[in-house]
Amino acid sequence: MEALLDFARGPLFRLSFAVMALGLLRILIFDLYGAIEAYRRAGDKTMPWNLVMRRSAQWLLPINRAFKNRPAYSLISILFHIGLLLVPIFLFAHIQLWHKVIGISWLSLPKVVADYLTILTIICAVALLIGRVFNHSSSFLSRKQDYLWPLLLSMPFATGYICANVGVSPSVYQLSMMAHVLSGEIAFILIPFTKIAHCVLMPFSQLISTLAWKFPPGTDEDVATTMNKKGAPV
């Protein structure tokens, strides 16, 4: 068990983290390359930058915008995201690990805050899942991954909480630590290939949507030629 745990926390962690980081970097590069290419080809290069920035900010910090429709869902979703981001990055134990490996550390959350945030995140994940199951339109749209993500993401939180707080026997500790590490790693590996890719693409959404309406000139001729319809009547 000890050896397995070492493997999971060592090479396996490095691998999964690399898959996530490189995978996200890859799609980010593709995304921005596509945007630059579209801008280069666009016939009209004027961009409503103010509007793009304003709308991007509205959804990155959806304080006003989100509550106009489905306020409960919005509140839960926002709290969920806060916990999801803050706890893994600013947990004292995690920072210690990073410090050991790369020699860098940063401010950590007080343990009490981290604990409450952890519980809040789990509750929010469950609430989001319930909302998805019982909301008529949400459940109709949902794919498998939409149900699995809240479950998968609550796993590291629940097991991490057990490890940090419950005075249990060493074997139970090891088991929950194992589940904690593995579930986190599975999430890492899946992130670049699923909707969670929005964690890096989100800031560019309004830009992409706006840019998409900036068509390149000459598509009429080009598409007609490719389709073998050049000079064909309307």
Binding site: R143, L201, L211, A212, F215
Partner: protein, 490 residues
Amino acid sequence: MDMRTDKINAEERERAFVSLRKPEVVEKQKLHVRYHVEDYDAEDRPRAFLKAFAAILKHSSYRMALDHFIRMSAKCSRCATTCQVYQATGDLKDIPCFRSELLLSVYRRHFTMGGLLRGRALGTGHLTDDKIQEMAESFWNCTACRRCSMECPSGIDHGLIAHLGRYILSEIGIAPRALVVSTREQLEGKSGNTSAIPVPALIDTLEFLEEDMLEEKNVAIKFPMDVEGANYVFFPAVSDFLMEAETLMGIAAVFAATGDSWTTGTGYFDGINYGLFYSDRILERVVKKIDAETRRLKGKQVLIGECGHASRSAKYFLPTYCGGKDAFPVINIMEYTYEVWKEGRLVLDPTIVTQKVAYHDPCNIARQRWIIDQPRELLRAFCPNYVEMTPMGENNICCGGGGGTVSIDEIRPYRTTIGGKLKADQIRKSGCEILVAPCANCKKQLRELVEDQKIDCEVVGLHDLIYKAIVFDDSLKVKEEQPQEVAEEE
């Protein structure tokens, strides 16, 4: 901003989805949709669809957007809360996100590496005839108002996806006949405009209106034709010449009051661009006609009349297809009128229009926050009983005939029971007696809507009211005897 209304009932639904197409046509075209389609090659549609999709992807920038959208789609269903079509039908297939997924899934399966590999390995997910049928129906249920794009946390523009879906379908021959026939007349017909108005008839109509205005206002208000070097070359929705005389007279009256130079070109005078609704190729060709005519007349600016999609297709796509920042500047008539009013060159009498007036934002003008406050300020200045409808501005509710659907007469039952249901509720709630809708599409749809939904409300353009309220300088007044002389000369 709660938009919940009563869902339509089964009977209304049946009425809305009634098809006028003959069963043998449906059989032959392999297409169960409510709008008429010209005959096309219905054999092996999936292959044709994919071929067209590939050609479009190759020469456009859609790939960038689709790549982004397939990664971002969180299926949160927030768009369902603002889609007026879904709010009216309650049919889950009308949720914008679901509609978009129809096309995104084809893209994912056939144009991404992962999709191709998975598809080959499992032998599933390939494009079928049924899916094309579903898209052909679904993309024309959408009014392309793009309200959902305002509400998507992931920033997905479902309007863009519906736009692309219609473009691909039209490349294989599935496009509403009403739009195709009009466009054919515009691009290849003798008249060169969507309403098939010959130039002599246009001149007659305008002379007739000039006489009318002289009689009513005692001012020689002109419609200048083919004036070279005019400041503004005017392109209204051409249907205005047949149906919106008051709007045109209002616009002419404003120019008479300010004395600015403007002109209508007899070479081309149609602002309508159905390309925006079903094909980027058509969009490009029609935009180029506006550019060519303005060049021919050595005009300085393109002036679009009261029409939402004409304004958007000129403002956003003249730079796209006709020279970027060197393209002719485009302004909407409301912007012009607002500016001259601000400068004090236009005087409006606040005692003429005393009824309860409300303003409807055309999607194509308001969604990008282009023109929202200007017409309101104008209306408040001379309509003492102005009332506001909410939501308004960039969050407005579409008239229900957007995206070209209003031109497809056979789907009127759909438009007035489902597409425009939310708008009808909004109009009723505002209690307005006059609804100002500065868009040819909106005017037609809203008139049909208030008729079918039995709402007592008159739908007019902004310049219809301005024409009523405009006060002319005494120096412009023609003397008592003169009207008859002018009439005799003509």
